[in-house]
Symmetry: C2
Subunit: 155 residues, 2 copies
Amino acid sequence: MQERIEEVKRKLAETGHKLTMQREATMRVLIEHEEAHMTAEDVYMHLKQTCPDIGLATVYRTLELLSEIQIVEKVNFGDGAARFDLRSSDRAHHHHHMICRECGQVEEIHEDWLLAMESRVEREYGFTVIDHRLDFQGICASCRSAAAKAGRAVS
Amino acid sequence: MQERIEEVKRKLAETGHKLTMQREATMRVLIEHEEAHMTAEDVYMHLKQTCPDIGLATVYRTLELLSEIQIVEKVNFGDGAARFDLRSSDRAHHHHHMICRECGQVEEIHEDWLLAMESRVEREYGFTVIDHRLDFQGICASCRSAAAKAGRAVS
DNA sequence: TTTTATGCAAACCCTTTGCATCACA
DNA sequence: TGTGATGCAAAGGGTTTGCATAAAA
């Protein structure tokens, strides 16, 4: 925990930014809810507990900044609100998502299956890949078994 | 062209909807600009030429409807506006995107590289895949060569 | 003739911005 | 102490909705 805050402080300093109370609190919320895929509003709600006076605008500015310095990744599942994931410190590691159409839950796949494809894109299309995103939409295991128990088919 | 309109008419009828002048005009715009990845606003602008009285709300409603009946695919590249792609009639064919961070242009990869991964997701995670999305972000071939000519590195 | 669809405008939601004040470094 | 950060409220952009009217089937 503390070392991650230190890393952020260092990265902020490198880019001419300050580590404020609000930014530190935001990092703590993100770390405590790793993989929660929170929206800015979600983060704000949690922050209100430790930092009651924080403003929503600050949360947006902080998340944007953390995204610029690669601490978090801003992802968009098409439901209208951006979500923010802590990046793993391992730069090469990407992850993929499984988004359930029944319950809306987002699960992660902690593997990067796309390295071969990235080189293929570079080779065949002359496109230099910086990053990628892979999402699967479908029905998650628990919704499927719930549907099976209820004896009905699922969309 | 005409047979695609007929297919839409059939699908609309099946789901209890009508083929209106506005919906037909929207289809024509989509067909004429296949792969343009247009926003609702883009579609609206084009529609104004053949259908000057159409309202933006109708465009949104039409695109949403076409998306529900699988005629178009609503995609979101994270720039704030949803984009709409005509689906290929071949249901099994998905396509992937290469999004250039220099010029913002979206190119397509007309291959589905993910069938093997879909079965792996089903097998290893118990997640029933309905659809998937794969986007690469990076620098497109023309931006890279432009940058090379200008003798500078690109981000 | 009965539904469903339309156009308009207002409402909505998420996000960004202007500005005076505050607090890290 | 000086620059960057904050909070608030207002503005912004994309999208949706209520409602009276119009037009498919």
